[in-house]
Symmetry: C2
Subunit: 497 residues, 2 copies
Amino acid sequence: MQNDRIRNLAFQKKVMSEDVAASFIQHADTVGMGGFGPGGSPKALPRAIAARAEKFHQKDEPFTIRLLTGASTSPGLDGVLARAKAISCRLPYQGDIDLRAQANLGEVAYVDTHLSRVAPWARAGFYGKMNVAIIEAALIKEDGGIVATAAIGNAQTWLDLADKVIIEVNSWCPTDLEGVHDIWRGPEGSLPNISSPGQRTGDHLLRVSPDKVVAVVKTNERDLNAIFRSVPDAVAIAGHIIEFFRHEVAYNRLPSVLPPLQSGVGNIANAVMEALADAPFNDLTAYTEVIQDGMLDMVQSGKMRAVSGAALYLSHDRATRINDDFARVKNKLVIRPQEISNNPAIARRLNCIAMNAAIEADIYGNVNSTRVMGSLVQNGIGGSGDFARSALISMFMLPSTAKGGLISSIVPMTSHVDHINQDVQILVTEQGLADLRGLAARQRAKVIIETCAHPDFRPLLRDYYDRAEKAGGDTPHLLGEALSWHKCFVETGTMRQ
Amino acid sequence: MQNDRIRNLAFQKKVMSEDVAASFIQHADTVGMGGFGPGGSPKALPRAIAARAEKFHQKDEPFTIRLLTGASTSPGLDGVLARAKAISCRLPYQGDIDLRAQANLGEVAYVDTHLSRVAPWARAGFYGKMNVAIIEAALIKEDGGIVATAAIGNAQTWLDLADKVIIEVNSWCPTDLEGVHDIWRGPEGSLPNISSPGQRTGDHLLRVSPDKVVAVVKTNERDLNAIFRSVPDAVAIAGHIIEFFRHEVAYNRLPSVLPPLQSGVGNIANAVMEALADAPFNDLTAYTEVIQDGMLDMVQSGKMRAVSGAALYLSHDRATRINDDFARVKNKLVIRPQEISNNPAIARRLNCIAMNAAIEADIYGNVNSTRVMGSLVQNGIGGSGDFARSALISMFMLPSTAKGGLISSIVPMTSHVDHINQDVQILVTEQGLADLRGLAARQRAKVIIETCAHPDFRPLLRDYYDRAEKAGGDTPHLLGEALSWHKCFVETGTMRQ
């Protein structure tokens, strides 16, 4: 039965247990793992490598790997390896509670990188040699072609670059996934001529030379999918965005069939998708990083014509349901390498509308989406920078306060910058939507304070801005106070002075 | 003789003085002017509009325009209009001493914008209606096609969008300019398939409907070209960069024929070009924003195979000399619309090496290239963001100190961020070159302090970093001190505490 999934003899001969397979990984190796979010993350090898690391550590011998992936992974990958102290360097993104703590302690060197750049830079040799690639598959075909699971991410590049390859064949994933993927390969620097999100331009199978495959491991295990909640602020933010779209269409600045949408992951992004499902827009498309519940719902209901991403990023229930429906929806669903799904050139060509989440924004529209109080990494920049600079309209969304109102998310100066004001055309909180297009910095400050900030913090923001304005500059700041709100929070637990 | 330059009857009929032509511009108009840097900037109309504004102001009547250009212009454009208080809003870039002062006083709303985005966003209606376009020409052909002068910038888009068009025909510019330009036009979002910098893909003439042309004004006036100086720090920086290129070629991370170069403007950029002229690299190409002296020298000497930009940006002497040589070099020289010259998708496709100047950088590699002490705009982001995020390797260059050593250009935290650390792979000062590829934030801090900072400031930077590290975070900062160096300079005139 399981050999139904491994139809090539060369691969069948390499079947072994994960514990034996893990012995191919040595201390200090650079390991590229497939997956992007929980989808497509290897499952057996991370556990086996963690166990191997612990054995070394018990003997007081070093054992860590440099771990490159697509994006974040799952608790079963980053979490398991982090708790075994098995990661020395991590690239390009993470979202795991244990790994994050190690990055913030400086125990793991976390290299926060634009997701579209990882594969080309790896091929250019900027990250050194790759020793082992570990990839999840739904099926290995007769000719050795590999049907991936719920993500492509950087899988093909890892297969190309690594000296040794290990494949996990996961029989929980339906073989109907065949045909969902589109793995474009061309000369370095060239791009597929994608003119609509649903367009296919490449091979639907991952390819690897069987000579490099050192192990094939059988698994039957579902992804550790995410849980999303409906939150009131998110619904209000989504409402402002729908209203903005209606307004732009009315003024002929957007076509009535909206351009392809890019959307980050999370509660706010989910609320926007739910609001779109009920809004008077049809023939929607998405050219995005990860394909979420709301997008799949709209694909299945016919509201969304096509969706392209590097991975599925679904809730537990949604992942179970889609398993039975791939055959029906796969002509509207394309999973690509992240250098294509997130390619700024294609996002620009398609005139995407980018919608990403922020931790805080300043009065001039600069956005911090990664570092809490300037120092502590939360997740990472991910693909937000790939899209924000290339979209027709780049929107950032955040609740106006955090920590039950103790933190104002609109601050005099952000404590870290991920997105410069030039890449933020629209800023939205539950309070309102600020349209920053064509505004100078001083104009932006007034609009952001009066539209986006929480009313409790507006007087303090006005006071800061008014005094800064008197001191001068096209982007007036008071250097002794610019970060004082953050400092106050760190010292007293509240920004309410 | 002058009618040799205006070969179409419809245009000949519109010839008039600049003072009469200026009456087509009304208070509160949005005016798009050609040019990009001094090259191609209109000359007669700015003076005439300034005089018109002053007449209104003498009667206590308002007269200002919203001024959109390609990039910076010349003292004869921005300077003349600024001194007449004739500008209310300025987009997308400036570099004029008088205009800058007004922006910093809040008298002019300066909208600092990525240069490649201006034309598409204008066409999308984000900047409102354009009333008048004013463009410089070397020649108007029999069929009404227009030979531009030393720049394209956004000229074609302004001609397309404006209700009224005024053309200055400048007989100082040689008619041999015909054929230098390449004005690609295609469906919105599409791009020419440029696979090498010298490739031509469009029309060599600007096009406009003669019905929209309300005035043609004759001029005979040279551009107010820039002056560059050779400075010792610039030579040291250039030396480090050449050494880096040699090293990357030796390690096969760069091909021996270097990828197309992008280079900003200024003393450091010029020094790099001079160093390249003597370095063991041949068949150089440039896909860049403005074409400088050093690039033209290499084109003429045969060292550079082809160069593409939105404009010539030359010294006074170089501009005079090239005037006699266009016929010979124009097969190696392409002047394009800035949405093409600066297009991130093309820069990425060509794997450009981006080299841009910075005002300051922080210990984590974030770069401020626009705001002095956080508040005061110097010039603007220009095209640096178009290239830095899309280049194969993005380099930022700056002297390690400023103001005779009173300012450290390497600081704990930049007072403004234009380029996030993810877009800075290489940071160079006269002290040395920091290769930041694949490094986590804490690793970057150590390399930048020990390699790029001035030795006088290293102990203070180490002290800041060490104490911040103890406080924790993957990007450790002390919020009460992060901007204290700037504050100290503003209050005491020195960062040396």
